[in-house]
């Protein structure tokens, strides 16, 4: 073997890589917030009395879930300026991530909402709670708690998906790694290192969600 590994450029660029990790986490967190909002809003719309709205949500979910994220991010990247919205790559990537994650969140949360017994909703209404409060406290919270493990898995996936945002040069770890690779040609060393960084990031996100589950959902079941 004539090739010898040289991690010099990786070490020299390590502060940049760490900033890239922060960029990845920011992208993921912002995407998750949008995804959760779309997920909750979508589930509410999906039980709307207007059939057109219900079908819109179903179509959105199926289109997003059956096309690659790369095509979606390209589409958003080119569609936003045509709609008169000129955004830098990073906000564009956040919108694409939010839309993608939102479709999966709708499906996951819908499963949880479907598992809430009908009698509980009726009991809430009988107690004189407002419809909105019944949705918030009687339906949504137990539903989120029930699907929290799947939601965690989906959001870890969303975190890993942020690497595709490098295709439109959003600021995150893979883009930073590409810059270092272009200057040093140490492709394997650079990508091998950030693969381990991604492993660390996904572990961190998983722990964070476990902490959240413990903090918000550790009330007794019955």
């Amino acid at each position: 073997m004539s090739y010898s590994l040289d991690f010099g450029p990786v070490l020299a660029g390590f502060p940049d890589l760490l900033r890239g990790c922060a960029g990845t986490l920011f992208l993921a967190a912002a995407g998750m917030v949008i995804a959760l909002a779309i997920g909750i809003g979508g589930v509410a719309l999906r039980s709307s009395p207007v059939p057109a709205l219900r079908w819109l949500v179903i179509a959105f979910v199926e289109v997003i879930r059956n096309t690659p994220f790369l095509v979606q991010i390209y589409f958003v990247f080119f569609a936003l300026p045509l709609a008169g919205l000129r955004l830098p790559p990073t906000p564009t990537a956040i919108i694409a991530l939010g839309l993608n994650g939102g479709a999966y969140a709708i499906e996951i949360i819908r499963g949880g909402v479907g598992a809430v017994p009908k009698g509980q909703v009726e009991a809430g209404l009988a107690l004189g709670l407002h419809k909105r409060d019944v949705f918030r406290f009687v339906v949504l919270r137990p539903a989120l708690r029930a699907v929290f493990p799947s939601l965690t898995g989906q959001f870890v996936m969303l975190t890993l998906t942020t690497s595709i945002a490098s295709a439109i040069a959003a600021y995150e770890l893979t883009s930073v790694a590409k810059l270092i690779e272009n200057e040093s040609f140490r492709s394997f060393e650079v990508y091998g290192t950030i693969t381990l960084l991604y492993l660390l990031i996904s572990w961190l996100v998983m722990r964070l969600f476990a902490l959240m589950a413990w903090r918000y959902f550790s009330y007794p079941v019955k």
């Binding site: 199926e62 059956n66 690659p68 994220f69 589409f75």
Partner: protein, 213 residues
């Protein structure tokens, strides 16, 4: 968007299909071995494959492609881009399918294995005749779901420089300056591949859930 552009996209679609097929077949064979190792009674083997699965599930597919692509070149294997990418997808599929099938094997009622043992069936017969046929049925919905994920995932081969559907779309888009039309068509092609599979997947899931509950 004329006929030549459309033909170019179809050319890309062909490679997307080929890459998905290779990934699924290669990953299926390797994934079965991973699943068997993961459910093995030898702790070292089970732990090793657990780490293998965690590695692939905890890192982006794009990085896995990059690392196999450059890693194979590093150990002196001169491969075409499509070969390197095919190996990358095979490894990824082996980990994901391995984990899906691990779950299916574990979902086969314990008594089945115990009964096979009581009949003094050996490991091979126990697996081939008793456990795997039942696990196969349980695994179908998730396996089809992963196939959809794999087809969508092949679009990342375009970032490594391999001309499949997504890259064909990017090339045509750069030529005719109509990105929304081109990516709309490309998206529709992926949808035409994935949506029927998704429907089959959810149908299988419903059918599987019916008799057991």
């Amino acid at each position: 968007m004329g006929i030549p552009e459309l033909l170019f996209l179809l050319q890309g679609l062909k490679w997307t299909l080929a890459l998905s097929a290779i990934g699924f077949l290669g990953g299926g064979i390797a994934g079965l071995l991973v699943a068997l190792a993961r459910t093995s009674e030898r702790t070292a083997l089970a732990r090793g494959t657990a780490a293998y699965i965690a590695l692939f599930q905890g890192t982006p597919l794009l990085m896995q492609l990059f690392v196999t692509y450059y890693g194979l070149a590093l150990v002196g294997l001169q491969l075409d881009p499509w070969q390197a990418v095919a190996i990358g997808f095979t490894l990824n599929a082996s980990a994901f399918l391995g984990d899906i099938w691990r779950g299916s094997i574990e979902a086969v009622p314990r008594g089945q294995v115990e009964a096979a043992r009581a009949l003094s069936l050996g490991y091979a017969s126990r697996m081939v005749d008793i456990v795997l046929p039942q696990a196969f049925r349980i695994s179908l919905p998730a396996t089809v779901g992963y196939l959809v994920q794999l087809i969508k995932g092949t679009s990342l081969a375009s970032i490594v420089g391999f001309t499949e559907l997504a890259r064909a779309g990017a090339i045509v888009s750069n030529q005719i300056f109509k990105p929304l039309v081109v990516f709309g068509i490309v998206g529709a092609m992926y949808f035409a591949l994935c949506f029927p599979l998704s429907l089959v997947g959810s149908w299988l899931e419903r059918r599987l859930a019916a008799p057991t509950r």
